[in-house]
Amino acid sequence: MNRTSHTVIVLLLLLLPSALRAQETPEGMHFPAPGPVWSSQSAIGLRLLTVPRDIAEEELNKAPSIEAQSVLSLPWHFSVRGGAVLQVLTNELRLGTHWSWRLGDVSMSVGDDWAFWFGFMNLDGFDNRANGWINYPGVAVGIDLGAARLSARGEGIFLLSQHTLAGESEVSSTKRMLVGTALTLAMEQPISRGTEMYLGVRLSRTKFHYQTWFAFSTFDRHLLFSELLIGVLL
């Protein structure tokens, strides 16, 4: 099965909950409020990563990806959230559990996401593959402004393992290491009856960003990675 088929299947699986969802849905993708039990919500969108100049140097420093995500509300204010950011060269599949509560217009959640990232680079002069695991524990807070919901989510970025291959040479490392933090600011609001969109910015201050694995960066310092998030709720 080729990678395009993989990508399509992953997207379909992620969007499946929205096809099966109950009449009532959770409040958005990013907003950390508990939703009706067994209700679900999906979204699809784009991410545009800006790579720091230290890594990109004079090369192209923008990396677009397709993003799909779903949330399924569980009893006792728990929810399961999954997502994929796909681009062939760099990809990430993410799944996590969150617990949320709501106080009036303000909602909060705590959660823990696990992500498997992988990538392929078989261009001229490159014969590389890579994969690894990342853990993203985080807290989120959101405010419901009526027609729009604003959310902020702070996460730690723990690089659990990393496995890279260059031709027949390979290097693996498994160590739990806090490599950085991320802050995601998102705004969700209707754009027409029945259609809602999200806009956001994710700022990661980290020593490692999986989307730049093929740079084999050796910098032992935090760099700022900025991502623009835009998409529609399904």
Partner: protein, 207 residues
Amino acid sequence: MRVSISLLVALILAAAAVHGQEHATEPRPASAPPRDTTAALVLSLGGGASRYVMPHDARLDIDREGAAYMFRLCLHTSRRLRAGVESGWTLFYSYELNDVETSFGHTDAGLTLSAIPVLAVFSMPVFGSLTVHAGTGGYFVRSHATSFGETVDVVRFAQGWMAALSWDVGVFRQTRVGAELKWYGATEFDDGVVLLQLRMSFPLLTW
């Protein structure tokens, strides 16, 4: 580290589009096309002063103030959100160097950096005659440098953005005059100016 501001311009544009949708059914703003037309192609002309606002190396004593002019062609419809194109000219900065030491000897030198914006612009009235504008595209940045009595001109395109706030009043038929405060950012070269311009706008074509 620097983060591309152009990403955020896209955010602002999208937000403006959303906001435009919200207000689509609101009362017509003062600068909307006449009621017996459905659309107008409005030309805005402006001129004024510029000030270079980005950091620069202390070794160069740059002259940050200059002049700028602009023209903008914008499609006005019954929708609140308008789209168009903008160009013009602005000075970024200039400087003179005296008695510079080189391997060829000493020389006086001077440089002028200017730009011609080429921007897709989205505009939206927000309050009375107050209009916000946001644009994305870039700038043809021109170095005009002289040393050892020889002058060289080099032009390169830099990605960038703009954001502006304008206010105007009707003075004669559909002609309006006012002022515009604007930021031109050639982010790829880390250059940026703030402009204060007098402006005049009138419909070039209505239908």
